[in-house]
């Protein structure tokens, strides 16, 4: 029986103090909060201080904004910032364009749709370093299969990774190859959520396939587009693996991005400078993320 029936008469004193516990205790946040707070938040905040120092891990001297000044004075460091933005813009644009194209193709009525989707998506799950190495071989200026294939159709292929003006774009192309699958499945999810009625109504109204794409698919998959843009832009800004595996930032500093600059400065022992690079990267991403945060909150408010 219930405990109360045995002790029902034992006490009649009002239980005035709050002694009921919520079934959803806030200490459930605690383990996650400790790990996240110590290993992510704390270093992030301390980076703001360390970016203002000359730092050897053992002691740090405050030098004000010198690191940042250096960052925007040294040409090879500025190059890194510019390349980061180029890389993010190029990969983001191409992922949206090809992702949407592939999504339309892979939601149309074709055979082996599921298999094709898997093929397009699988590179997302392959080690970036592995992809980088494989494409470095394929982009070899004379022996690489890409240039050999281009030769066959009479085009003499460029030195994809050896030409300083081209290297960062070549890496960006490989990133598109690797990441377009994720963009595609997000677009596919977006397109699939468009009610079929719209298409049928448009068909009855005599809209062509192209018109249906422009007036239905494109506007109604806007949430997916926004997601892909934000996701691939931030991913592009943070990219390290491919650049490192393919060019090590070379030739020279031609394809350095912020993430590889951070690593190089770290290896060279310029910890303060490296951390300043990290802070620059934070700022770039925050410029992207804060509008996103506002956008998301607004969308939630609408519901």
């Amino acid at each position: 029986m219930m405990a109360m029936s045995s002790s029902a008469t034992a006490s009649n004193a009002p239980l005035t103090k709050r002694q009921r516990t919520s079934p959803y205790p806030t200490w459930f946040f605690l383990p996650a909060a400790i790990i996240y707070g110590v290993l992510f938040l704390f270093p992030t905040f301390s980076s703001i201080y360390f970016s203002l120092t000359r730092w050897t891990l053992f002691d740090s001297t405050f030098i004000g904004l010198d690191n940042f000044a250096q960052f925007f004075r040294e040409p090879f460091l500025i190059q890194g910032v510019i390349n980061t933005i180029i890389f993010a813009l190029v990969t983001c644009t191409l992922k949206v364009v090809f992702g949407l194209g592939l999504a339309v193709l892979l939601t149309s009525d074709i055979r082996m749709r599921a298999l094709l989707r898997s093929i397009v998506f699988f590179p997302v799950l392959v080690s970036a370093v592995g992809v980088g190495i494989a494409f470095t071989a394929m982009m070899h200026p004379t022996r690489g299969i890409i240039n050999i294939a281009l030769d066959l159709v009479g085009i003499s292929g460029p030195g994809w990774l050896t030409n300083p003006a081209l290297a960062i774009y070549s890496v960006a192309l490989v990133e598109v190859w690797r990441g377009v699958g994720l963009a595609t499945v997000i677009f596919i999810a977006g397109i699939m959520s468009i009610p079929q009625d719209y298409y049928e109504a448009a068909r009855i109204d005599g809209a062509s396939a192209w018109e249906r794409f422009c007036y239905i698919t494109l506007p109604l998959s806007r949430p997916a587009t926004v997601t892909v843009i934000i996701l691939s832009f931030i991913h592009g800004l943070r990219n390290f693996e491919l650049v490192w595996a393919m060019t090590r930032g070379g030739p020279g500093f031609a394809s350095d991005v912020l993430a590889s600059v951070i690593y190089k400065q770290y290896q060279a022992g310029f910890y303060g400078l490296s951390t300043a690079g990290n802070v620059v990267l934070f700022v770039l991403i925050a410029l992207m993320a804060i509008p996103l945060y506002i956008y998301l909150n607004r969308r939630e408010g609408h519901q």
Binding site: A128, V129, T227, L231, N278
Partner: protein, 275 residues
């Protein structure tokens, strides 16, 4: 006529997609099973002999079976981190979804920040050294948990929203204490999303290169992705071995993908969209 042209276009589109996405994989496989001289030509040709086993054995045994050590390390890190992630993220997602409080805005903000912000590397290294976690496997486990929590919390929270609150209440009436409600009623019901979290995070953590590069130096701590990096210089003239290594590193995600491609795709899209 138009129908025929559209059909033609579709065929071309499908065909080029297949070429673009399959050829690099074929290239990796072909190169991995060639001998050294043929591989060095970097061409897309059928091998004349197939030293598959020799390539395999050489790669495995190089540097005192470094790849085997790496597999063990990567597996330990992945299993440890994913286990922690499942429990911790489900707990946060659960309370965040169920309970109203001033902290909800803060939690959402931190989740979003964790999703987008890159870590501050050097300060983290400094911190790890201070607390004795630098270059240790368990340190790496905690790092992976910290960096991947956000994604998992988002998935769990969205799923928990679909579990009726009356179920918690029935359990409470039945005499369940908070831990009972969570571990005996909610957690078992999260199985579908837990499978998704496990597969997506396993692949992510297994494939991670940057974080072990920074936080896990040392040959006995090497992870699978780092072997590629180490061997890149060692095998710079032996493309067959390098590509055999790539192949070996790619196989675990491939297997996971073959069995769980629905969950992976669903999880990654959901995580992306809700983020």
């Amino acid at each position: 006529m138009i129908a025929l042209r559209r059909y033609g276009l579709t065929v071309i589109a499908v065909f080029s997609t297949v070429i673009i996405f399959i050829v690099p994989f074929l290239f990796i496989v072909l190169t991995a099973i060639k001998d050294r001289t043929e591989a060095a030509r970097l061409d897309f040709s059928w091998p004349t002999n197939f030293p598959v086993w020799e390539n395999f054995w050489t790669v495995i045994s190089t540097r005192n079976f470094m790849l085997v050590t790496a597999y063990i390390n990567s597996t330990l890190i992945t299993v440890g981190a994913v286990t922690l992630l499942v429990i911790l993220a489900a707990m946060v997602g659960y309370v965040r979804q169920r309970r109203k409080g001033w902290w909800n805005g803060l939690v959402d903000f931190l989740v979003l920040a964790g999703l987008m912000m890159p870590p501050a590397v050097v300060p983290t290294i400094w911190l790890l050294q201070e607390i004795g976690l630098f270059a240790t496997l368990h340190g790496m486990v905690f790092i992976q948990v910290a960096y991947n929590l956000s994604f998992c919390i988002i998935l769990y929270r969205a799923f928990i929203a679909t579990i009726p609150r009356e179920l918690d209440e029935a359990a409470i009436i039945d005499g369940a204490r908070p831990l009972d409600v969570f571990f005996r009623v909610i957690l078992p019901l999260l199985k579908p999303v837990t499978v998704t979290v496990i597969v997506v995070q396993s692949v992510t953590i297994f494939n991670d290169f940057v974080n072990p590069l920074y936080y896990l130096p040392g040959n006995q701590n090497v992870t699978v992705q780092l072997t590629l990096y180490n061997f890149q210089s060692q095998f710079s003239t032996a493309y067959n071995l390098l590509f055999m290594n790539i192949l070996l590193v790619t196989i675990p995600p491939l297997i996971v993908f073959l069995f769980y491609n629905r969950q992976i795709v669903a999880g990654m899209t959901a995580g992306a969209v809700k983020g």
